[in-house]
């Protein structure tokens, strides 16, 4: 699996892409693969404040439920509500159409320490 070069990645298998201080957050191909067939996606409402390292939602597959952690602190400006009715899209297209939330970030410092695509590829490969 190739991971987009423009994204940054967390140890909890989220990806983040930042444009003009708005971060789009999703889970990685590796994460959806490990979870298997996804049946529920629970996301916060627009306007919710999320904190770096704290859970903001959950993704549930047939076999398990998994918390999703925010890689950044800020306010949710958009949530991908289409996933409520088509959760399987998260298995099909985790890096593009099945993004989870968009967050207006408060500090670019939150992005320090996140992994590059190459680093994450090694990290995810070592785990499986």
């Amino acid at each position: 699996m190739s991971y987009p070069e423009t994204f940054r990645y967390t140890k909890e298998h989220e990806w983040i892409a930042v444009t003009d201080s708005v971060a789009t957050v999703g889970i990685t191909w590796h994460a959806q693969h490990e979870l298997g067939d996804i049946v529920y996606v629970d996301l916060p409402k627009v306007g919710t404040h999320v904190d770096k390292g704290r859970t903001f939602g959950s993704v549930e597959s047939v076999k398990a439920v998994s918390d999703i952690y925010s890689p950044v602190t800020g306010e949710v400006v958009e949530a991908n509500d289409a996933l409520a009715t088509t959760p399987e899209q998260l298995n099909a297209d985790p890096h593009e159409s099945a993004w989870l939330i968009k967050v207006r970030i408060e500090s670019d410092a939150d992005l320090a320490g996140l992994m590059s695509a190459a680093e994450y590829t090694t990290y995810a490969g070592a785990e499986s």
């Binding site: 298997g36 067939d37 049946v39 529920y40 549930e60 047939v62 076999k63 439920v65």
Partner: protein, 346 residues
């Protein structure tokens, strides 16, 4: 891959849902070599097997198997097992992977007054399960043994894919199928032969994930979930494997007391009414008050509902009873329903 009691086992191959549907509609292959085996041999093998299990091995004929329980004196489960009668003086017991050493110790400790020996036989056997409506079609070309006449819960010792094998018409999926015991050295050859034979039938390898959803739809117990040391067979809805009239057996006195006094809790099936999946360990409430717990829960791929099994007070266990399952701090509506959730078309 996950670590399952020290075994590296795949949770899924092609995907849990795909594997699940393949077993219901065609045929799937499971490597269940992690399961343990214990052999009991000697002049008093039958008498001993009856003393340590809840069901009645006296009723078995050569080549027949039965589901049974190993209990502690207090009536809780040591394990749930499959007892096979190889001969009057030889029994073969298939036990749960994570319990095999405990089971062996339990059985060894009970042999003192019986003329028989108990052998820890797990290293001698790999087990491969072929499950699904096309199991016979897949397996028949690989053996001289005529498979169709083998009845459910009977077995034949023969050859399979060219190697010695015990072919049992048993399974843990609710479908027709076979569990095949072979020498571990032959397991890879047998696996490949079955995959090749089943290719025309759409066979797929299946992992632990599908094994769990398949057994749950059929409401088959899983040790550590529906049953365990603090649960008795009467509570688990398994009175049918308890034969009080066969005579003495370990745990009988406790079960007689429980039967006479009446059980207070009972295993029941539930179906989620609200949004969410009640998973094992979640609390069950009735009328807002804590009343029990979920033992297993999952989306049912066949029935397209969120199902589960739970312990609730006996007077709250009837079909139609409204319950709530506490899912991440929220009470979600559910309802007690009859089990099994799924029964294969005859």
């Amino acid at each position: 891959m996950v670590d399952f009691g020290g075994w590296d086992m795949p949770v899924q191959y092609s995907g849990l849902l795909d594997e699940h549907h393949t077993v219901r509609k065609a045929v799937g292959l499971f490597d269940v070599s992690h399961m343990g085996e214990i052999e009991i041999r000697g002049p008093e093998a039958l008498k001993f097997t009856s003393f340590v299990t809840t069901n009645a091995p006296e009723k078995l004929k050569d080549g027949q198997a039965q589901y049974s329980g190993l209990l502690y004196e207090h009536g809780g489960f040591v394990d749930d097992v499959l007892v096979h009668r190889v001969a009057a003086d030889s029994f073969f017991i298939c036990v749960n992977s994570s319990n095999q050493e405990k089971d062996f110790g339990h059985l060894r400790g009970a042999t003192a007054s019986f003329d028989c020996e108990v052998e820890y036989a797990s290293p001698k056997y790999a087990q491969i399960a072929i499950q699904g409506p096309l199991a016979v079609a897949t397996a028949q070309p690989l053996t001289e043994t005529s498979l169709a006449p083998i009845r459910y819960y009977w077995f034949v010792d023969g050859t399979f894919a060219g190697v010695p094998a015990r072919i049992a018409r048993t399974g843990y999926t609710g479908e027709d199928g076979f569990e095949i015991y072979v020498d571990p050295a032959d397991a890879v050859v047998v696996w490949k032969a079955i995959m090749a034979s089943g290719a025309a039938h759409g066979i797929k390898p299946c992992g632990l994930g599908a094994r769990n959803t398949l057994r749950l739809e059929s409401a088959m117990a899983l040790y550590g979930h529906e049953i365990g040391p603090s649960i008795s067979p009467l509570e688990a809805g398994l009175s049918w494997i308890v034969k009080f009239d066969k005579g003495e057996f370990i745990g009988r006195d406790a079960l007689v007391r429980q039967r006479d006094q009446g059980i207070t809790r009972k295993l029941a099936g539930f179906e989620m009414r609200g949004r969410g999946i009640g998973r094992d360990g979640y609390e069950v409430h009735v009328d807002g008050v804590a009343a029990g717990w979920v033992t297993s829960g999952s989306p049912s791929p066949t029935l397209n509902k969120n199902l589960g099994l739970c312990y609730v007070p006996v007077n709250r266990a009837a079909a139609g009873q409204k319950i709530e399952v506490v899912i991440r701090n929220q009470s979600v509506e559910a309802e007690i329903v009859p089990t099994p959730f799924y029964k294969r078309p005859q």
